[in-house]
Symmetry: C2
Subunit: 570 residues, 2 copies
C-alpha cells in the first residue's frame, strides 16, 4: 500500500528527507478510515495532514479507553538521543504489520531546535512520520497558537500593571515569562517596560521557548475545552501584595486564551512512512513538565485502535515516572513499556564518561557495554515498579559491532529481561517485528500502581520519587525551597502530584554520575506551582528553559528552492 | 447560491458574528472554480479556507495581468475607520452581482488588535469575509510564520554577537527589533542579553508587532520564492564597525528564513458572505510600509478574474500614494479607485476636531459636513493626479441623517466628482450596485503615471510626495535625517522609492490639522532603509510600531464554548 523507492539496502542510511521524498503516502482520508473516522471527522490542513474536528474528538474520547497503551521510554540518554521516536514509529509499524490496528502518538517538533542543532525531528529513516518538511516547519500551527496565547497573558499582566495595578501585583514576584519558539539565549534575562510612562512598568523578565511554557503542559493534559479553560483559569502568574496568587482568571483573559487554543486542542493526524496513523500533537518539556504528547491524542488513539504506541521524554526516571504519576492519573494507563537502549548509551555508563564526550564512544568495547548495563537494568526496574511489564529495545546503529550488541543482549537475558533488537531506522516495521511480538505478549501482564498517593504531603511525594525512582538516600531543601513547599500547601496545592526537574544524563542530580549512583542526596532548590497543568515542579538545578544557538546553527544549512522544496532538514 | 438567515431588515445592525454564523457558505473548491482553479490547485486549511498550491501560484502569475484592478482608498480617516474593508467586500459582491467575475483581496487581521480594541477585522455585516472566527484567530498561520522568521533573524544576529562577532556588528547600531503579534507596550523598550556571559551580549532592543516587521513588507512585495530570498538577503539589520550594512545573507540564514515563509507566500482563498472569492493575504503597516495585501494575491486575483478589488491603508495620501509609487511598480496598476467617505469623517473636518473626539460627531450637522468636504475632494485629486479615475463611495452608517448624506453628495456632485452611496454593511452587494456601475464605467478611462521617477535623488522624491500629495510648502530634515539620506545614497539605495511615515489623521504631519492644511513644512526626523522590501522609510514622527492594550481589552470579552464556538469577535 505504501512504496518507498529510496534504496537503503546497502546499509548506508540515507537522509530522512530522501526517504520522506521517496515515499508515496496514502490519502489522509484513507488513513483516518483506519481509525474509523469519516472524511467529515477530519479537516485537511495541507497534503497528508488533518486535524480531527471538535466533534470527532468528543466522540472518540467520550467512552472508555479500550485499546492497549504501549509506553516507549529509555535508558539514561546521551545528548544525541537513543532513538526513542524512531523506535516508537517502527514499533507502531511492526504492530500494524502483525495485523493489529495501531496508532502512533508523538510530540510536535519545536522550531527552536530545528534551526539550532537538530534540523528536524519526527523519527527518522524508514521510521518517521510524514510529511516531514511540513511537520518540522509550523505544522498546523499549534505551537504558534501556544506562543500567542502565552504572550497574550503576559501582555494582559503588564497592561494591568500599567493601567493602575488594581490587583496589587508585586512586580518582583511575577513568575510568568514571555515565550517564543526560537533558540535565543539573549532573551534569557531581560528588562522590559523601559522608556518612561508610555511604555509600561519596568521589571525584570525572561523568555522561555514555547515548549517550556506551562500553557504547553496545560494543553497537553486538558481533557476537553471546558477542562482547558478551567486549567488556564488557575495558572499562577504572580503574587499580589498579600502573597496570594494572581491568575489569568483574575486578569479576565481565560476565555480569550482558550479561544486562541481551540484549534490547537484538536489532535493532528498524519501517517508514518508505512502509512500507519500517527497523531503528532503537543510537546511540553520533560523536566519542568510531563514531556509527552497530548493526553487527548493518547485518548483518541487508544480509543480508536487496538494499540496506541506513545513516547515519554528522556529516560524512565523522568519520562516514565512522570507518565505514571501525572498522565496515567488522567486515564491513560500503559499496559507495557519499551525501554530503548543503545550500545553507545550503555558504553557511556561503562566508561563513566561525561555525556557529551562522543568521540570516546566510537571505539568498540564490549566490556564497557557490559559494565554499563546496570544503568539500563535500573530503568527496567523503575518501569516494573509501577506494575508495567517492560521489554528492552536495542536500537541498532550502523557502526555498532556484533560483539557489543551480543554483550548487551546477553547481560539482559541473563537477568531475565525481555529484549529485542530493532533496526526500524533502516528497515521500518520489518526491523521491529521481534519487538512488536514481545510487546504484544507482555501487554496486560502487570497491574499498574503509582508509587505515591496525591494526598500525601508534598515532601513525602518528592521523597518517594527521589528514593524509589532515582535511588537517592534522601532529599535536601535549599535556597528557600522549604518555604516554597509551605507556601504551596498553604495555597491549597498540596494535593497535586510532583514533577521533579533534574538532569536527564544521570539518575542523580549530577550529570557526571554514570551507571546507578548511590550514596547521594537529591538537592531541591525551588518548588513552583504549575497549578494549571496540575503539578508542582521541584527544581534540582537552574533549568534551561531557553536554548541557545550553536556557533554553526542548523539554520545555515536550510534552504528552499523555487518550487518550495526545503533542504537541510535531515 | 448563498443564503443569509440573519434578519437585518429592521435596520438594526446585527453583530458580524451573527451574520457569519447565519451564512451557508459554498464549498471552497467551488469558490476556487470561479477562478478557474481545480481542486488540485488548492490545499484545504480547515472548512472554507484553502491555500493555493505553489504550482497554481506560479501558473496564475506567469502571464500578463488581464483583469481590471480597482483600488479602494479613503478620505482622512477617524480612528474607528470609514469602512474601507466593508466597501471593498461589498463592491466585490456588487460587481459579481452584475455578472463580472471578481476577486476581493484584503489584508489578514493581526492578533494584537483583535485582542486589543477591534475584536476582529474582516469587513462586517453582509460585507465580510468568512469564516470570520478562523480568519481572526491564526487563520492559516502566515503572520505566525512571519513572527518566527523575524525572530530567527534576531536570534541569529545575537548569536553572532555571542559567538565572537566576526562581522564586527556594532551593538549600538542594530536596527532589527524582535517581533510578536500582540499588543504589548512593555516590549517597546527593553534590554536583552543580561545575566552574564552565558546569556548573550547585553544591548538595548525593542519589539514591534509583526505587521510592522520589514519581513511582512518583504512577503507583501515578493513576486516568487526566488525574489523572496533575494529580498530577505538584502535586508539591512545593523551596521558593522566600518558603518557598512549587515544582512541576513551575511548571517547565513536567508534560506532558513525563506523556508519558514514558503507556505506563507501562497495566498489564502476564502469567500465573502455572498460567496465571492476573496484572497486574504499579508498585512504590512500602512505608514512604515506600503499597507496593502500581498502583491502575489493581487496578481493572482487580477489574472484569474475580470475585476480585482483591493484595498490600501488609511487615506489616499498614505495608502493610494504608496500603492502608486511602490506596488504599481511591481506590475499591479489600478484602473480606477474608490475613495471611501463617511458623514462622520467629513464632519470631523468641518468641525476642526481632534480625531478621537467621537462624542462631538454624534450631533447631526449638515453644514459641518459641507465644510469638511474639502478634505475628501483633495483625496480625490490625489488619486486623479496618478491618472487614476476616482469615484467616492459614501459608506452609510445607521445614524447618518438624510440631510447630511444629501449635503455630502451635493457638494461632490457640484464639483463633478462621481459619487455613490453604499449600504454594503446592511445590504451586502445589493447595497453597492450603484457604486459598482460607476466603477465599471470609469475603469480604464485614465492613464496611470507615478509622480516621480525612482532614479531621482532621494530628497527630490520626498519633496514630490510632501508638496504634490500632502500639500506641504517644503521639507525640513532634523535629528540627523540629512545624514541618513547621505548614508543611504552612499550605500547604493538612492534609487529606491520612498515610503513616508506620517500621521493618517491629517494631510500634514500634525494630527490636529483638519481639512486641507496649507502653509506648513513637512519635518523628516529619520530615514531608514527597508532594502528588502525595496523602499526608504522617511519618518516624520516617532512611529508606534508596538500598540498597547487599552484599560479594558477586547480580550476580556472573548470566549470559547465546549463546542469550540468563539464569542466576542464582533
Amino acid at each position: 500500500m505504501v512504496t518507498t523507492d529510496a534504496d537503503l539496502d546497502d546499509g548506508t542510511p540515507e537522509s530522512d528527507l530522501a526517504v520522506a521524498r521517496a515515499t508515496d503516502t496514502r490519502p489522509i482520508e484513507e488513513v483516518a478510515g483506519d481509525l474509523g473516522l469519516t472524511p467529515e471527522d477530519i479537516e485537511p490542513r495541507g497534503e497528508g495532514i488533518a486535524k480531527l474536528t471538535q466533534g470527532a474528538v468528543r466522540s472518540a474520547t467520550a467512552g472508555d479507553v479500550d485499546g492497549t497503551t504501549v509506553l516507549v521510554t529509555g535508558m539514561t540518554p546521551t545528548p544525541k538521543g537513543e532513538g526513542k521516536t524512531v523506535t516508537t514509529v517502527g514499533l507502531g509499524q511492526a504492530l500494524a504489520g502483525l495485523g493489529e490496528s495501531t496508532t502512533v502518538a508523538i510530540r510536535e517538533p519545536s522550531l527552536g531546535p530545528v534551526f539550532g542543532i537538530k534540523g528536524g525531528a519526527a523519527g527518522g529513516g524508514r521510521s518517521q512520520v510524514l510529511p516531514m518538511e511540513a511537520i518540522n516547519l509550523h505544522f498546523t500551527g499549534d505551537i504558534h497558537a501556544l506562543t500567542a496565547a502565552h504572550d497574550l497573558i503576559a501582555a494582559a499582566l503588564d497592561n494591568h500593571l500599567h493601567q493602575g495595578n488594581e490587583l496589587e501585583i508585586d512586580v518582583r514576584r511575577v513568575d510568568w515569562p514571555r515565550a517564543l519558539d526560537v533558540n535565543d539565549r539573549a532573551l534569557r534575562e531581560t528588562v522590559v517596560g523601559l522608556g518612561g510612562p508610555a511604555r509600561g512598568v519596568p521589571r525584570e523578565d525572561e523568555f522561555v521557548i514555547t515548549a517550556a511554557s506551562e500553557l504547553t503542559a496545560v494543553l497537553g493534559l486538558a481533557s476537553d475545552l471546558e477542562d482547558l479553560k478551567a486549567r488556564i483559569a488557575r495558572i499562577v502568574l504572580a503574587e499580589d501584595a498579600d502573597g496570594e496568587p494572581v491568575t489569568p482568571a483574575d486578569l479576565g483573559v481565560t476565555g480569550a486564551v482558550a479561544a486562541l487554543l481551540r484549534d490547537a486542542f484538536r489532535p493532528n493526524l498524519v501517517q508514518t512512512v508505512e502509512g500507519v496513523p500517527a497523531l503528532v500533537h503537543g510537546g511540553p518539556f520533560a523536566n519542568i513538565a510531563h514531556g509527552t504528547n497530548t493526553l487527548v491524542a493518547d485518548r483518541v488513539g487508544a480509543s480508536l485502535s487496538e494499540f496506541l504506541v506513545t513516547e515519554a521524554g528522556f529516560g524512565a526516571d523522568l519520562g516514565a515516572e512522570k507518565f505514571a504519576h501525572i498522565v496515567a492519573r488522567e486515564g491513560i494507563v500503559p499496559e507495557v513499556a519499551v525501554v530503548v537502549a543503545t550500545v553507545r548509551g550503555a558504553k557511556r555508563h561503562g566508561l563513566e564518561m561525561w555525556p557529551t564526550d562522543f568521540d570516546a564512544l566510537a571505539e568498540p568495547d564490549a566490556d564497557a557495554v557490559r559494565a554499563g548495563v546496570a544503568n539500563l537494568r535500573r530503568h527496567v526496574e523503575i518501569v516494573e515498579s509501577f506494575g508495567i511489564p517492560a521489554v528492552v529495545a536495542i536500537n541498532v546503529f550502523p557502526d555498532d559491532t556484533e560483539s557489543e550488541l551480543a554483550a548487551l543482549e546477553e547481560e539482559l537475558t541473563q537477568d531475565g529481561i525481555a529484549v529485542a533488537r530493532s533496526t526500524a531506522y533502516r528497515d521500518g516495521g520489518d526491523g521491529a517485528i521481534d519487538l512488536a511480538e514481545r510487546v504484544r505478549d507482555l501487554a496486560g501482564t502487570g497491574e499498574f500502581a503509582p508509587l505515591y498517593d496525591v494526598d500525601e504531603p508534598v515532601r513525602e511525594k518528592i521523597d518517594t520519587v527521589a528514593r524509589e525512582v532515582y535511588g537517592a538516600d534522601g532529599v535536601e531543601y535549599v535556597d528557600g525551597a522549604d518555604d516554597d513547599v509551605d507556601r504551596l500547601e498553604e495555597w491549597g496545592y498540596g494535593d497535586l502530584p510532583v514533577c521533579l526537574s533534574k538532569t536527564p544524563y544521570s539518575f542523580s542530580d549530577d550529570a557526571s554520575l554514570t551507571g546507578v549512583p548511590t550514596g547521594w542526596t537529591l538537592t531541591v532548590r525551588e518548588v513552583t506551582p504549575s497549578a494549571g497543568a496540575g503539578f508542582l515542579v521541584a527544581k534540582t538545578a537552574d533549568v534551561m528553559t531557553m536554548p541557545g544557538l550553536p556557533a554553526e546553527p542548523a539554520a545555515e544549512g536550510i534552504d528552499v528552492d523555487a518550487d518550495g522544496d526545503v533542504s537541510g532538514l535531515f
